[in-house]
Every structure is written in C-alpha cells, then in structure tokens.
Amino acid sequence: MSEIITSAVLIGILTSAIRLATPYLYAAIGEAISEISGVVNLGVDGIMLLSAYGAFFVALNTGNLWLGLLTGALVGVAMGLLMAFISVTLKAEQGISGIGLYMFGLGLSSLLFKTTIGTVKTVVGFQPVRIPLLSDLPFLGEVLFDQSLPVYSAFLLVPLAWFILEKTTWGLRLKAVGQTPAAADSLGVSVDRVRYLAVCVGSMLAGLAGASLSLALVNLFQENLTAGQGFIAVALVYFGGWRPLGILLGALLFSTVNAFQLWMQVLGVAIPSDVAVMLPYLLTIVVLAFTVSRVRGPAALNKPFERGEH
C-alpha cells in the first residue's frame, strides 16, 4: 500500500476530493438554508438532475458555459417555486412532496435527454484557473489553487453562507421562522414569504450543484447523472448540524472517500469497486446514527405553518 500512495497520487486524490466536494457543497448549503426556514426539500436530487441537464443542453448548443450555469440556476429556482407552492402554500407533507419532486426531475431529465440529446456527448467544461502565487505553493498550491471557477465559488459559499445566516437580519428571520413561526408571525415577519425565498435560494444552489456536475466535473449528461448525490447532500445537512462549516467538513469527508476509491480503481488496487462504492453510503448511515440524536435541528422543521394554530 505504502509504495502505491506516492506524493503524486496523494496530490491527485486530494485535488479530486476538492473537485468532487463542489456539488455537495452547493446542494447541502442550499438545503440547509431551506431547512433552517423549516422546509425539508427532499427533491434536491431531482433538481440537480434537471439543472444538470438544462445547463448541459444550453452549453452544448450555445458553447457558452456561463449561459449554461445560469440556466442551471434558473431551473433550480423554477423547481424551488414548485416545491414552495406545494409545501408552503398548499401545506403538503414535505417528505412526500420532495420525493414527488425527485421523481419528476428524474423522469423529466431522462425524457428531455432522450428527446433532445439522445446519446452521451461531452462539452469542454470549465477549465482550471491557476491563482497566481498561491498556486506555486508546494503541495497545497496544486490541490487548492488550480481548480475551476465553479469549484472556487462553492468553497467561497461556505463563509458567505455563514455570514448571511449569523450576521444579517435575513439570517435571523430565517432562524426565527424555522424555530417559532408563530412568534415570527406575530412580530410581522411573513412566514410564507421567508420560506418561499429560502426554498428558492436553496433550490437555486441545488441547480448550481447540478450545473457544476455537468459542466465542471464530468462535462457530460446522462440519465440519473447524480446517482443519489442530492440525497447525500441532504444527509450532510444533518451531519453538519445545519452549520456551513460542519457541512464543509462532511462534504470533504465524503469527497475524499470518493476520490480515494476512484484513484484506487485507476491504480488497479484489488478492492472490488462495488464494495468501495458502498462505503460513502454506509458512512452516511453510521454518521447519521451518531450525530442526529445529538444535534438539534430547527424546531418547526417539516411542519407547515398555519396562522392561529398556536
């Protein structure tokens, strides 16, 4: 084992890990924002799929990656509006609504892929941008500062989300609405409006997660491209205790396991790849079992708000 893991391989694994963490970061931070306001959106995976398709389709036909990214974000917002309408306005059971949204996104993205693209094609995705000086650092330079723009922005999202959640009025409102909606309502905060916005912002980030997958990571689209990454992102929110920093740690843990397993396959190390692919899922379950009971989530999570019920 030791002769296989040279420093070049280690750099390779860590560079992949940073890249692979990108969709998890966008999607999980988005989901955290939605959940802090009290809405569990289990449709993340479906949103990611439809956005990944939309982004890829536009990039393939216009050659413009930024337009693709924008499409991914907009598809996310549209799906967010649908989720918000059903879970906030119609006050439907959030878990099942999310599963409906997932099935819808999965089906529609396959349908559109088959009718408009047909076979697996590739685009030239976002290229790595070396950051001057920093990228010359030994070891870390290559791992952290030779990545593509969507990757950088995913990592910048962590402090940004922390700042918005902890230091702004909107962040406070979000928490108030998720903890005690009745109290927030009596203080004149529109619970529904805050939740609509949170779900849409969260879904937009899920859209970016999908777009970054198809335009910066694998540079292609195929049916069920995400293979359940959206569900892992939801699990990461619990893992991270609804905090951006915790989510970052969880995302890196997952992406490192993934990257390790991919590199082991490349190097032909004899662990059956199926066993290795199982690892992240097993890990999620174990991690959920040990973290969930300890961290307390938003009190009004998964509870539709109705005026005058309290």
Binding site: M103, L108, G228, Y281
Partner: protein, 358 residues
C-alpha cells in the same frame, strides 16, 4: 359527498397529470391523442397486454402494501428498491442452492427468505429511526444504494451465470433458476403467473392485520398520534421499527416474485423502479390495503402502456415516470382541500348535534 371527493382526488390528480403530459407531448411534436391511444392499447388492447398489466401490478401491489403499513405508522419508506433487491438476491440464492428439494418447498423457502431479507433491510432504518432518531427517508435511500451495489457485485462475481462466463459475454446476471422453482402460469401463452393471486390475498390479510388486530391497531395509533399513544402505554419506537420492518418484508417479497415469477434469475434492473412507483400506487390507493388493488392495477397498466407508447410513437417511457412524479405532487398538494373538507364535516356534524339537543 365530501367522502366521495376524497376518494376521487387521486383520479383527478391523474387526469391533471395526463393533461400536463398532453401539453408536454405537444412540445415533443407528438399527437397526444395518438400517444394516449397507444398507451391504452398497450395496456388493454389484447389478452397479452392485459396479462402483462397484471404482471406489473403484482410487485407494485406488494411494495404498496408495505408502504401502506409504514405510512400508517407515520414512517416513510423510500427504501422499496433496496428491500426488493435484497429479497430478489435471497430468492435467487435459495432457488439455486436447494435444487434437490421439491419445487413447492423451495418456492416457500424463497418467499420466506425474501420476506426476511427485505424485513432486515427495512428493519435497520426502522431501528435507527426508533432508537437513534435517524431520519428514515435518508437512511432508506442509503440502504437502496448499498443494496444496488451489493447486487452489482453479486451478479458480476459470485452469482454470475456460468454460461455467460463460458461464452465470454459476462452478462451481469445470475444462472437461470430450475424450472420447478418458477411460479405457475395462470393463462397459458402469457406472462401471467400465480403471484398476482398471492398479492391480492396478502392485500386482504394486510387489511385484516391493520384494522382487526391489536398490533395493527397500535401501528395506526402510533401513526395518528404518537404522543397520545405514548400516554396510552404503547411503546412507540417499537411499533415504528416494526412498521418499517414489515414494509421491507413486503417489498422483499415483491423482489422474490420478480425473480421466480417473471425473470427466473437475478439481473440488473430487476426492480424496474417499483420501489418508487409503489409509493405512488400507495398514495393513489388512499393508503388503504384494498384500495391499493385497483390503484396498482391502474399503475401497472400505465407502465405497460408507456412501453407501448415508446414503441408506437417513439415517446420515451420516461414521460410516464415524470407524470408519476406529478401525480405524487398533485395528490399531496390537494390533501389540504380534503383536510379542509374534513374539518367542515366535523363542524357541520357538531352543529347538527348542538341543534338536536333540547
């Protein structure tokens, strides 16, 4: 009257989804009437089509029965896919191992084994939910992924068809089960097997279980009001875990039926997505075991019709998957109205009673 509206809500939801589907077909430059005619013909156009509809309805009904038990206990089971896979794996193993025993015995063993396997696959998230407060939606999704990888591993390795290895095709599928393990055909020359009878009998049994036994009553009580159940001395976590375990068992059985009734071997894609579409069928049937029978039949016909539509007018069957997602959204979205109707019913009844008092 309003009860009738309740029962018809899913029908309206499906009609609305088909209407949206018609708009989507127009965008795809396909004549919706032609497409839906193909769907209808595919589902009901011939004896064969009708038989195939029932064949697809069978695993749907089994999965939906499980979903029904867990949802009644207020536990959401998204793990039907994984539970089916584990059931299918065990059935295959039983079928390939006990080749010397009489067929009926092996079939019984396969069903028991598959039920047990699915039950374990559902029971793990059930225990985690009950005693570690782990969100069952997430853990069941993870269990799906693990089961899928497990099957991929088995059909490429230990269980791979020796014939495929000899012919160097290496198809990811197991050896064919001996014919004595196959479920009997109900109608010769069609795919219809006796599994459909088993599924309908089980639907009746689940109805009796949920509404006529103490355990079933407690599962429903826990689902309706966990706090009240706790005060009444019902061990809530135990019944939550139990309902997910049973749900897994039924999904496992669906996997068994697919192996011994339809494919006669284990192969990739054995679940055909029934673990998810079973949720739709369960919601559609109003989470009532007997309501699930027509609901599964309807969805079976949609799935068979979708295949026909794909062949006849070249619309990918993913259209139907999309519409099933919409049906879920429309059904849960419209439940607010049925709740309001229910509230109105109660108020009206209370008024009437108040007026009747002297």
């Amino acid at each position: 009257m309003s009860r009738l509206v309740d029962a018809l809500l899913p029908v309206f939801a499906t009609l609305a989804a088909l209407l949206i589907g018609a708009v989507m077909l127009l965008f795809l430059q396909v004549n919706p009437i032609q497409a839906y005619a193909a769907l209808w013909n595919g589902a009901f156009g011939s004896v064969n089509a009708f038989a195939e509809t029932l064949v697809k309805a069978t695993p749907l009904l089994l999965v939906a029965l499980g979903i029904c038990i867990s949802f009644r206990g207020d536990v959401i089971n998204i793990g039907g896919e994984g539970q089916m896979i584990v059931g299918a794996i065990l059935a295959t193993w039983v079928g390939l191992t006990f080749t010397e025993s009489p067929g009926w015995l092996v079939i019984t063993l396969a069903m028991l084994g598959g039920f047990l396997g699915g039950a374990i696959w559902g029971g793990i998230p059930g225990l985690l939910k009950a005693y570690f407060n782990v969100n069952e939606i997430l853990s069941t999704v993870m269990m799906n992924a693990i089961a899928l990888q497990l099957m991929n591993l088995l059909v490429r390795g230990p269980l791979i068809d020796p014939a495929g290895v000899a012919a160097k095709t290496y198809l990811p599928q197991s050896e064919r089960l001996p014919q004595q393990v196959w479920l009997g055909r109900l109608v010769p020359q069609t795919l219809l097997h006796s599994g459909v009878i088993i599924a309908v009998l089980l639907a009746v049994m689940v109805y009796v279980f949920l509404w006529r036994t103490t355990i079933g009553y407690r599962i429903r009580a826990v689902g309706l009001n966990p706090d009240a159940s706790r005060y009444a001395g019902i061990p809530v976590p135990f019944y939550q875990a139990l309902s997910l375990t049973l749900a897994g068992g039924f999904a496992g059985l669906a996997g068994v039926i697919e192996v011994i009734g339809v494919q006669h071997r284990l192969l990739e894609g054995i679940t055909s997505g029934y673990g998810f579409s079973g949720i739709v069928a369960a919601l559609f049937g109003g989470l009532h075991p007997l309501g699930l029978i027509p609901a599964s039949w309807l969805f079976g016909s949609l799935l068979v019709g979708a295949d026909m539509m794909q062949r006849a007018v070249q619309v990918p069957s993913a259209l139907i998957d999309t519409l099933l997602g919409l049906v879920v959204l429309l059904v849960v979205g419209s439940q607010m109205w049925s709740r309001r109707l229910a509230t109105r019913r109660v108020i009206a009844l209370a008024r009437k009673n108040a007026e009747a008092q002297p």
